[in-house]
Amino acid sequence: MKNETHASVIGNRKNKAVVETVAQIIFTICATFAILAVASITIYMIVSGTPAIFKVGLKEILFSTQWSPAAKTTEPSFGILWVILTSIIGTTLAILIGVPIGILTAVFLAEVAPKKLAAIVKPAVELLAGIPSVVYGLLGIYLLSPLMYKLELAVFKGSGTHQFTGGANLLSAVIVLAIMILPTVINISETAIKAVPSHIKAASLALGASHIQTIFKTILPAAKSGIVTAVVLGVGRAIGEAMAITLVSGGGVNAPLPFNSVRFLTTAIVSEMGYAQGTHRQVLFTIGLVLFAFIMAINIILNKILKGVKDE
């Protein structure tokens, strides 16, 4: 009996040690997969994106505004400055429109809305997140573009220099993007607001602050870190989106003005990959590399900001 117990204790220890080691190995393997994926994507992007840089020249690609990759009568040129600026301005505008609406909706859902109304709005917002991006694009074509065209006709009436786009322009793309980031921003912000300890809110109210004062002076600052996460994910979604905006942005390579037909980094790759060949194809990979570098930079910068917020 005593022996058995003794033996079992030893066995247990051995088993424990084995389980520990095996678990550690499994964890390491899983972690390696993630690292491998990131590393192989990075290497692939660099390997396939750099040949064109050497062939065409980095300055020529990044700072020239002339995009005529398949030109035969003239020297083909591969300037993507307008495309880069479009992505920056388009994403920024979408964030400027989408984030305030999203945060206020989250506040409404978490704090202001009657329970019955919140029970209707919340699932609707969640449903919005599940709609495929191509559907947003189709709605953009059939609902937004005709309205935009009317607006365009009114704004540029009699203009001899404006090229009419039929409602497919930067503004349409920004509106579609702003709507697309709403569910991400709303859901994460709402969770963050609900996670604010109730004693903070109670203390604020007890000190005589009104409900609205409490929301803006106490609850939102307390939920700051979660809201910043929401914005980061929103930016990620907006800059990486291709399908929806390829349908509403027009696709011309022009300066990113509201009523111009424009092309984003993502749509530039999507729209020309099918038929591109030679240097043209390589430059499309370079655009991918630029987009990749962009997203990396945004992630790193925003994460720094996020950490700064957490440290406060």
Binding site: Q163, F164, A276
Partner: protein, 314 residues
């Protein structure tokens, strides 16, 4: 290996002889033909065995089968403009030869030719003539039909006829309002395809506005062009003739309607070839691919092309 091959050959030969003898027991007319065919098939097998001395016995048996009935698969990759033609031809061919699978992917002319040169596909579909660079790499241009490009405007447009010069002016941005072309006071929304598209390439070349176009919309598929033109007042676009539907109006060019008859007669200037490129001449391809081209360039294949509004190759 060689021993095994001889054994297999002997076995197949014996089978063929047995079958020949058994049918021989029927009526005398049959005896003659089946004896002939068995002789033919055994000679074919001989050559196959010689050729595949380095290959496996599997390919040998499938090649032996192809003498009587075609089996195997053909892969086509290429132009989205050729989707309708390729699918229609594939369906008819597979109906005729139940043992054959013809699969087609539509990713773009250049991608198709690249695929056939990489040998990831048997046939590369291209809606433009092959470039010299591609020909140097071994691609052979087999024109199977000719396509017309239609210029279309939205249903409310009153302009029904354009000259080549007017078309060039519209696409280069010299003319920006329909009133200058005899229409209503509506701005022109210039719709086209993305750089690298076969349709755009053909259109710009045929109109003489190569690399000089200012598009308000650069869309990446034929369907998107038609949809955009149909839903935008004052829009003008171009697309394959067989892809244009009733949602838009097709404009006559130089007074010539975009019809199959006019394209065949050569009166309509916006037309381009549909190419099924192979890696090397057709004669150098597998039996199956040879049979495919025999079908496509033959009466049946051409009648399929004709039903799609394409010009046939005579």
């Amino acid at each position: 290996m060689k021993n095994r091959l001889t054994k297999v050959l002997a076995l197949i030969g014996a089978c063929a002889l047995t079958v020949g003898c058994m049918t021989g027991c029927g009526n005398s007319n049959n005896t003659q033909s089946s004896a002939e065919s068995s002789v033919e098939s055994s000679t074919v097998k001989d050559t196959v065995v010689e050729n595949s001395a380095a290959g496996s016995s599997e390919t040998e048996s499938s090649a032996a089968d192809s003498d009587t009935e075609l089996t195997g698969s053909i892969t086509m990759i290429g132009s989205t403009s050729m989707e309708k033609l390729a699918n229609a031809l594939a369906e008819t061919f597979m109906e005729k030869n139940p043992g054959v699978t013809v699969s087609a992917e539509f990713v773009g002319s250049s991608a198709g030719i690249e695929a056939v040169l990489n040998q990831t596909a048997d046939i590369g579909n291209s809606s433009r003539n092959l470039k010299d660079e591609e020909k140097q790499n071994g691609a052979v241009e087999n024109v199977v039909a000719i396509d017309g490009i239609a210029v279309c405007v939205d249903a409310s447009n009153t302009v029904k006829d354009l000259t080549k010069e007017q078309l060039a002016d519209i696409y280069t941005g010299k003319v920006t309002n329909w009133k200058d072309l005899g229409g209503s006071d509506t701005p022109i929304v210039v719709v086209g395809r993305e750089a690298g598209s076969g349709t755009r390439d053909a259109f710009e070349e045929l109109v003489g506005v190569k690399d000089a176009c200012t598009y308000a919309n650069e869309l990446d598929s034929t369907g998107a062009v038609i949809a955009k033109v149909a839903s935008t007042p004052g829009a003008i676009g171009y697309a394959s003739l067989d892809a244009v539907d009733d949602s838009v109006i097709t404009v006559a060019l130089e007074g010539v309607e975009a019809t199959a008859e006019n394209i065949k007669a050569g009166n309509y200037f916006l037309s381009r070839p549909f190419v099924m490129a192979t890696n090397g001449e057709i004669e150098a391809q597998s039996e199956l691919v040879k049979a495919w081209f025999e079908f496509v360039l033959g009466e049946e294949g051409q009648s399929v092309a004709a039903t799609l509004g394409l010009i046939t190759i005579d």
